[in-house]
């Protein structure tokens, strides 16, 4: 009997509470005293880097710190502010819609003073970080020797976890540990590929150009002298990170391949090349007759990528050289010698001219590009429209009055952009369009490197030329997983 009574009580509890919980989860607020009993609301989700910032909505303080979810918000415009001691305050006007969540993800708070540490107390004159690889290449100031900085995955964690880097955490290794005469060589050029631990080094030995193929993170493997195969510096060299045995290069518009393992050269694989690249063990190239081709590495089974067209569309024609970049097997970005930026998707032309370079490493269909004076983002997710006509991906100009942009990097998975303008390295918030706020991190005349995985900017100090690391993303971003505090509008103070 007792069991039956309890059973029916529980059924009633369920039938009453379950719909209420579901309505609440859908953002419907029950207001027994109001004329309109139920009201649909929206919410704001906000998290900051670093967390723990005080949050204000329309000037009113919330009792909990970020990350947080603020619920039960009537539709409308709200001013959101985040404040953390030692950091600049962050503020934004946002619109809340019914049954919708407005997410302010990974808001990077800019510190009043950037944290800088000297990693190696030794002077260098050149610095290259290979994107997606644990290597930094440094050129010794005094000897001109090339030095590799390496951290393994364990160290990567320690880097992310610990704020106090010590120089002994880093393994400094000479690329040529057993070579006695390397210091007599004069370094001419170093070529790297993103995510590849291999580097191609050109050096002057006894007045002649020599080339070395080096597995840079393995000290036990001596550099391979490939001067016999490549006794000069070609116009373009590339290799696929998944297939480091095959080196492709262009000389006098002819595409050649070197099989490093076999020590063989396969010359003149394709003629009149305007540009080429490799992706997923496939070679892509455009020739002087404006054909666009794909083949395996042997180049014996070339396939046209332009279907029944005789030539690539007219928007592409007229260029002498192309820098080809494959985003996937079907998506390409091309840059010609005039800095015109193109894609194989309509409307083909993205930027008319003057593009210096671009960064596509974000993997969210956004491309960061820069000219000498401007910095822009192309968002392939958002297609513009004029009347009934699509105008292609939207371009957002972040900066249009820069002095001379040399480099740019995505930061914090695309919430910010870091760039080197003349001798200043600056950071800007991508989301605050219209009133772009910039912050200067450092001054340097040398190239810099940024790793978003580590959240560090690596650069050579202007005075000492020591290798420094500036913390852009605080380390605890990687180790704390804080569930957002959820609270309601009525909690406002």
């Amino acid at each position: 009997m007792l069991r039956k009574i309890v059973f029916y009580i529980f059924i009633i509890v369920y039938l009453v509470l379950c719909p209420l919980i579901i309505l609440d989860s859908l953002g419907v607020v029950i207001r027994p005293k109001e004329k309109k009993l139920m009201m649909s609301t929206g919410l704001i989700s906000i998290d900051t880097i670093p967390p723990g910032a005080s949050l204000y909505l329309n000037g009113k303080l919330f009792p909990k710190k970020s990350p947080a979810i603020i619920r039960d918000l009537a539709p409308g415009s709200y001013s959101v502010k985040a404040e953390l001691p030692g950091y600049r305050s962050w503020e934004k006007e946002i619109t809340v819609e019914t049954e919708q969540a407005t997410a302010l993800r990974s808001i990077l708070l800019i510190p009043d003073k950037w944290k800088v540490q000297t990693i190696v107390h030794k002077s260098f004159i050149g610095l290259t970080l290979i994107e997606g690889s644990p290597l930094i290449l440094l050129t010794d100031r005094h000897t001109g020797a090339l030095t590799v900085f390496k951290w393994d995955i364990g160290l990567l964690d320690r880097l992310a976890l610990s704020e106090d880097l010590k120089s002994e955490d880093w393994r400094l290794s000479d690329v040529f540990p057993n070579s006695t005469n390397f210091n007599k060589m004069k370094l001419i050029k170093v070529i790297t590929m993103p995510q590849s631990n291999y580097i191609l080094v050109f050096a002057e030995v006894d007045g002649k150009t020599s080339s070395f193929w080096i597995e840079a993170d393995d000290q036990n493997k001596p550099p391979r002298d490939i001067t016999a195969l490549l006794p000069f510096i070609p116009d373009q060299v590339r290799w696929d990170r998944r297939d480091p045995e095959n080196l492709f290069f262009i000389v006098e518009k002819k595409l050649n391949r070197i099989d490093v393992e076999e020590e063989k050269i396969f010359p003149d694989l394709a003629l009149n090349i305007k540009g080429f690249n490799l992706f997923n063990k496939k070679v892509y190239w455009i020739d002087s007759e404006d054909g666009f081709w794909e083949s395996d590495v042997s180049l014996k089974n070339a396939r046209s990528l332009i279907g029944h067209l005789n030539k690539i569309p007219k928007e592409f024609q007229g260029a002498l050289e192309y820098q080809i970049h494959a985003l996937s097997e079907n998506d390409f970005i091309l840059k010609d010698e005039n800095g015109r930026l193109l894609t194989n998707k309509l409307p083909f032309q993205l930027v008319e001219q003057s593009v210096v370079d671009f960064d596509d490493h974000l993997n969210d269909n956004r491309l960061l590009f820069w000219t000498k004076n401007a910095l822009g983002i192309i968002d392939f997710n958002q297609t513009g429209k004029e009347g009934i006509f699509e105008t292609g991906p939207q371009i957002t100009w972040l900066i249009q009055n820069a002095e001379n942009i040399h480099q740019a990097f995505w930061v914090n998975k695309g919430s910010h952009v870091l760039f080197r303008d003349d001798d200043q390295v600056k950071i800007t918030d991508v989301t605050s369009v219209g009133k772009t706020e910039m912050s200067t991190l450092i001054k340097t005349e040398y190239p810099v490197s940024y790793s978003d995985a580590l959240g560090k900017l690596f650069y050579l100090d202007e005075t000492t030329q020591y290798l420094n690391a500036l913390t852009v993303l605080p380390a605890h971003k990687y180790v704390t997983f804080q569930l957002p505090e959820t609270f309601r509008k009525k909690d406002l103070r």
């Binding site: 069991r3 309890v6 369920y14 509470l17 919980i21 989860s25 859908l26 997410a103």
Partner: protein, 515 residues
């Protein structure tokens, strides 16, 4: 017409019906899991709403079950010191109840089916029978020994026969030949063979079957010294006593401190489940070691000889045989068995998995019961629906809830993208689920307290440390729920669904310590 409780020798039509019915539980479970995955992909908002409704339902049910667990636990505690012999004597004090059978004529037949268990496992079982407060001269012990049992086991049994020759009214070993036509390699076949032999012995002794209770135990079932007194008392006070099975609470205390944490949590969970079930006699079904009237067993032609789940199958067989006029009486007393153990944690894990799969294979009763209900018209429709719903819901919940509880709160968020990620429910579902899960720790805390109370004392020097460790073992619950509960149940249902029938797998009764 007597319904044949078997899936063998069916007519063509019945065979087809049996096959279709066998597929229902597996199809339902897979549909629920697949459906939720599909909804998470394509209708994530709907999936989130269902998830919230389900998790809240689960929470209320958890609280409901916890309430009855506590009631049942204290009921069990209340009877620990009950002198059941005295209570039997009280029944005859004053005015003698004419309905009561003559207590002196009541006999207990104990069947101990043995497959490969060593003497070290059997000895405490027999010792416990010899220490009963109820007269051991009224106990008849029958070892149902598989002919294929190892020599060591057979020798141990022979030594028991000599040692306890004069302790019990009778103690015999019946060797069950392998490969008898119509039998599968299941415990029910062995137990039935032994019970038939015992029936012959009873006949020669002129003992009326109506006065005999039969207890079919596992080979590791150690009963407390009051078990038969308690059983006799409930047998005497139960109206229509021969139309009932008598179910004690199984605990797994024989070696509970020597098994890995996950196994301990599993076994205590099983005991708790039986404690909760004991509060609902209307829907109680026999499980593991239990007792019933020998007359009823003979009338319904013993246990099914082709089913793995002989413990529950015998109840359903009786329920159909007596056209719904059969029930289970819960006994406020425990019987102790071995927790599954092996030489290594991995092997123990495998053994527990196989044991749970065997238990979950009790779903094989569903198609037979459905056919039975279609044929036996005397059972009310209400009772048919009630029992079928409970059985089907129980098995489907067993196979799916573990997966749903551990995945539903994040699955839509992981699988769906786009618009769903900007919906309110995307943010609210994990919050609601998290709140409910936090509230459910109240139930977990009660389970931990009760488990500490129900566990036997340990001989270890730092017993408090062991108990402290046991508290943390309960946090293995999500792992246990998925890998040692839902997965084996889904495995069992899938086998039945695909017609890949299981045979009996004897659980290792290894007493070795796993550190």
């Amino acid at each position: 017409m007597a319904f044949q409780y078997t899936k063998e020798n069916l007519s063509k039509g019945q065979k087809r019906l049996q096959r279709i019915l066998e597929m229902i539980p597996g199809v339902l479970s897979w549909s629920i899991l697949g459906g939720m995955t599909f909804l998470s992909f394509y209708k994530p908002v709907l999936a989130s709403i269902i998830a919230i409704a389900f998790i809240f339902y689960w929470f209320l049910r958890l609280i409901y079950m916890t309430m009855f667990l506590v009631i049942s636990f204290f009921n069990l505690r209340r009877h620990v010191k009950t002198d059941w012999l005295n209570k039997i004597a009280e029944l005859n004090n004053g005015s003698v109840n004419p309905d009561l059978p003559d207590i002196d004529k009541i006999y207990h037949l104990i069947i101990l089916p043995v497959a490969k268990e060593p003497g070290s496992v059997l000895e405490p079982v027999v010792d416990a029978l010899a220490l009963q407060t109820f007269s051991t001269q009224k106990l008849m012990v029958v070892f149902g020994v598989e002919e294929t049992a190892p020599d060591e086991t057979k020798q141990a049994i022979e030594s028991f026969l000599k040692k306890y020759k004069n302790v019990f009214s009778e103690m015999i070993a019946v060797y069950h030949p392998a490969g008898i036509p119509g039998e599968a390699r299941v415990k029910g076949a062995n137990a039935s063979y032994a019970a038939k032999h015992a029936a012959d012995v009873l006949k020669t002794k002129n003992i009326n079957f109506e006065n005999v209770m039969i207890s079919c135990f596992d080979a590791d079932t150690v009963v407390c010294n009051q078990y038969f007194a308690c059983l006799t008392y409930f047998y005497l006070i139960t109206p229509d006593r021969n139309r009932a099975s008598y179910q004690p609470i199984p605990v797994y205390n024989n070696n509970i401190w020597n098994v890995p944490g996950f196994s301990r949590v599993m076994e205590i969970g099983s005991s708790f489940f039986q404690l909760i079930e004991a509060t609902n006699p209307e829907k109680l079904v026999t499980f593991s070691s239990h007792s019933l009237s020998f007359k009823a067993l003979v009338e319904m032609d013993y246990w099914p000889k082709d089913m793995i789940s002989d413990d529950s199958a015998i109840f359903w067989k009786a329920y159909l045989h007596y056209q719904g006029r059969y029930r289970v009486i819960p006994l406020p007393i425990t019987v102790s068995m071995d927790a599954t153990a092996a030489d290594s944690r991995y092997q123990t894990f495998k053994n527990v998995y196989k044991q749970r799969r065997r238990w979950a294979y009790g779903v094989e009763n569903f198609p037979i019961l459905m056919r039975g209900f279609m044929q036996v018209q005397e059972i009310s429709l209400n009772n048919k629906i009630r029992h079928i719903f409970k059985m089907l819901e129980g098995h489907v919940a067993w196979a799916t809830w573990g997966f749903l509880l551990t995945t539903l709160s994040w699955l839509p968020a992981e699988l769906a993208g786009g618009e769903y990620q900007s919906s309110i429910i995307y943010y609210n579902e994990p919050h609601v689920a998290g709140t409910i899960f936090r509230l459910s720790t109240f139930s977990l805390a009660i389970s931990i307290i009760l488990s500490i109370a129900i566990l036997p004392r340990t001989n270890a020097k730092l017993s408090w440390l062991k108990k402290l460790k046991h508290i943390f073992e309960w946090f293995l619950m999500p792992f246990v729920l998925v890998f040692l509960s839902a997965l084996p149940a889904l495995d069992a249902q899938t086998r039945l669904m695909l017609g890949k029938y299981m045979e009996f797998w004897v659980t290792d009764k290894n007493r070795k310590t796993v550190k």
